[in-house]
């Protein structure tokens, strides 16, 4: 999250504004903090520091009609040569929250051209444009060909509209799994979440390359250096997750479980580093948890033995009439189990980020969105210690959720590969067997 940086900047801002009289307009307006928070925990096509400072990321968009479009998110930043729409208001005074313009969307929409003369993502290329760092596309093919920049994105009636040259154009969001097959374009860009995953993979590989070479060098001897730091965790995954949950066949699944644990952990921890290029809420994005849950789903069900499927479709030891009912429940369970994995990780990590952002939001709320310096100071005094505590809690949650996801995956794998002894069942269920 950007919260730490945010706190520091805010403190600096507060100190600065105490010394200089504030001559800013647009303060004290109603701010939709919920929207702010949701925007911050969502994926974006660029890493945003503050104001117009960004780390550009690659854009890879594919559409049914036009094929691939490659570029950089910085391509969308114009030079103020766009349709000279009158600047709505100049948010000087809180430039550090440059994308806080959706603060008053109902009135003005989000104005990407607020800072006159600045570099703003108001270009439209092949119909693609950035809306607060998120890649979107014009729905109308004719507009895609003709519109080269936009004035603002208007969000009246819960429908995004792009205003350009006095005309409004409909917007198509990138495809999600919820769209099924009914979509026009897919955003394959290296978004900040994807970049986070790539960095996590790289860091993961670097760390465990070193750990692995430690095992090679100190073969048969005590671990040293980074190897001895990670060995207890590796042993914990092996002994208390893999062996405990899976049993004698643990060794085949150990690499998967270890990869799962450390991948989730590293991405979680990256999300807690408040400075870009970290701080992306990647494990708090359902797309990532969905992918992980899907992999676990396949690992579990492709390892399922005869007993596993037997217990799902024809549960031994229950009365005959119950068997079909159990089959339906158990069959749904196959999908519900990975679904809960997906929701649990997503919800826990997102919740942590939301709480921290809400605490940061207190500063703006108390400060009446920049109008009251003393209010901001009080807000900061409250928010900063609470944020610190929440960050420490989130550090624990990062480990806990990685552990839980791995543990439950191991448990599900365990039920899939477990060998049942029917003699045991006979004894166990004997009283239930109808004559």
């Amino acid at each position: 999250m950007l919260n730490r940086l945010f706190s520091i900047l805010l403190t600096a801002f507060v100190v600065f504004t105490i010394a200089t009289p504030v001559h800013a307009s647009g303060e004290g307006e109603d701010v939709d903090y919920g929207a702010q928070v949701m925007h911050h925990i969502s994926d974006a096509n660029e890493f945003h520091f503050w104001g117009d400072i960004h780390i550009p990321l690659p854009i890879i968009a594919w559409s049914k009609t036009d094929g691939f479009h490659f570029g950089l998110s910085s391509d969308f930043y114009g030079h103020g040569e766009s349709h000279a729409a009158p600047a709505h208001d100049d948010h000087a005074g809180h430039g550090h929250e440059g994308h806080d313009h959706e603060a008053h969307p109902a009135e003005k929409g989000h104005d990407n051209n607020a800072h006159a003369g600045g570099h703003h993502a108001n270009k439209v290329i092949n119909g693609y444009f950035l809306d607060h760092g998120v890649l979107r596309r014009l729905s109308d093919p004719a507009a895609r060909a003709s519109v080269s920049s936009y004035d603002k994105v208007d969000a009246h009636d819960d429908n995004l509209k792009v205003l350009s040259g006095g005309k409004a154009y409909a917007v198509a969001n990138a495809a999600s799994l919820l769209d099924g097959t009914n979509f026009n374009w897919i955003d394959f860009s290296i978004t900040k979440n994807v970049a986070t995953m790539l960095m996590a993979m790289l860091v993961f590989a670097l760390i465990f390359g070193a750990v692995r070479s430690g095992y090679k060098k100190n073969q048969g001897r005590a671990p040293k250096g980074i190897q001895s730091f990670f060995e207890p965790i590796i042993l914990f995954i092996r002994d208390d997750i893999a062996k405990e949950m899976i049993g004698p066949k643990w060794e085949k699944y150990f690499p998967y479980l270890a990869t799962l644990f450390f991948f989730i952990l590293i991405v979680n921890l990256f999300g807690l580093i408040p400075i870009a290029p970290f701080g992306a809420n990647a494990t708090g994005n359902i797309a990532l948890t969905c992918a992980l849950a899907v992999v676990t789903f396949f690992v579990v069900n492709l390892s399922g033995n005869k007993d596993y499927w037997g217990h799902i479709f024809w549960m031994p030891g229950v009365p005959l009439l119950l068997k079909p009912v159990m089959a339906v429940i158990e069959f749904l369970g196959i999908f519900i189990k990975p679904f809960t994995l997906m929701i649990r990780l997503f919800a826990n990590i997102s919740a942590g980020h939301i709480i921290i952002l809400s605490l940061i939001g207190l500063i703006f709320q108390f400060g009446d969105n920049g109008a009251s310096v003393s209010g901001s100071t009080v807000g900061a005094l409250i928010a900063v210690p609470f944020t610190l505590v929440m960050n420490i809690l989130e550090l624990f949650v990062a480990f806990l959720q990685a552990f839980i996801f791995t543990l439950l995956s191991a448990l599900y794998i365990g039920t899939a590969v477990e060998e049942h002894h029917h003699a045991d069942h006979g004894e166990e269920h004997a009283p239930n067997v109808p004559a």
């Binding site: 969000a155 495809a175 799994l177 897919i186 394959f188 465990f208 048969g220 690499p255």
Partner: protein, 170 residues
């Protein structure tokens, strides 16, 4: 509420699901195969080698204890043997001494007996000698006495008469 739908981590973007799958599967494939598999193997080998070494040490300790016990037993045996030998030697010495003493006794006794016999024989011989000498002396004395007494013929006749009387009486 406006942005809940527009900026949402709840909407699984197809692109991100795609990348997440690719990245995670790649991580699993590469790190699983080239890192965690060998690490698991290295850990197992190390544990086995440690267990082996411990068992080996235990075995060596048992072996050592066995050898020590054996040595102690041998020492004890030797001591007992020595004691027995010494006792035997003592016994033998005593036996020999006893035998020697007994034999000496017998020999002494025999020598004493022999000496006695010799002494007796010598005594007897000496007595015989003495007796013979005394007899000769008596005869000589008697001769001289008789010669002296019988120088007168009447005395001779008287003596002869006496002797004849003596013989008659017998």
């Amino acid at each position: 509420m406006l942005f809940l739908a527009e900026f949402s981590p709840i909407v699984p973007s197809m692109g991100m699901v795609f990348w997440a799958l690719i990245i995670f599967l790649l991580t699993w494939l590469v790190l699983g195969r080239f890192t965690f598999k060998p690490i698991a193997k290295a850990l197992r080998e190390r544990e086995e080698s440690i267990d082996g070494a411990l068992a080996e040490a235990e075995k060596a300790r048992a072996e050592m204890a066995r050898i020590q016990a054996e040595n102690a037993a041998a020492l004890k045996n030797q001591q007992a043997e020595r004691t027995a030998m010494m006792r035997e030697a003592k016994d033998a010495k005593e036996q020999i001494l006893k035998e020697a003493r007994e034999e000496a006794k017998v020999v002494t006794a025999r020598m004493i007996a022999d000496a006695k016999v010799e002494i007796e024989a010598q005594t007897a011989a000496a007595m015989m000698d003495v007796r013979n000498s005394a007899g000769q002396l008596a005869v000589d004395v008697a001769q001289k006495v008789l010669r002296n007494q019988l120088s007168d013929p009447t005395a001779q006749t008287a003596y002869a008469e006496t002797l004849i009387n003596e013989i008659k009486l017998n």
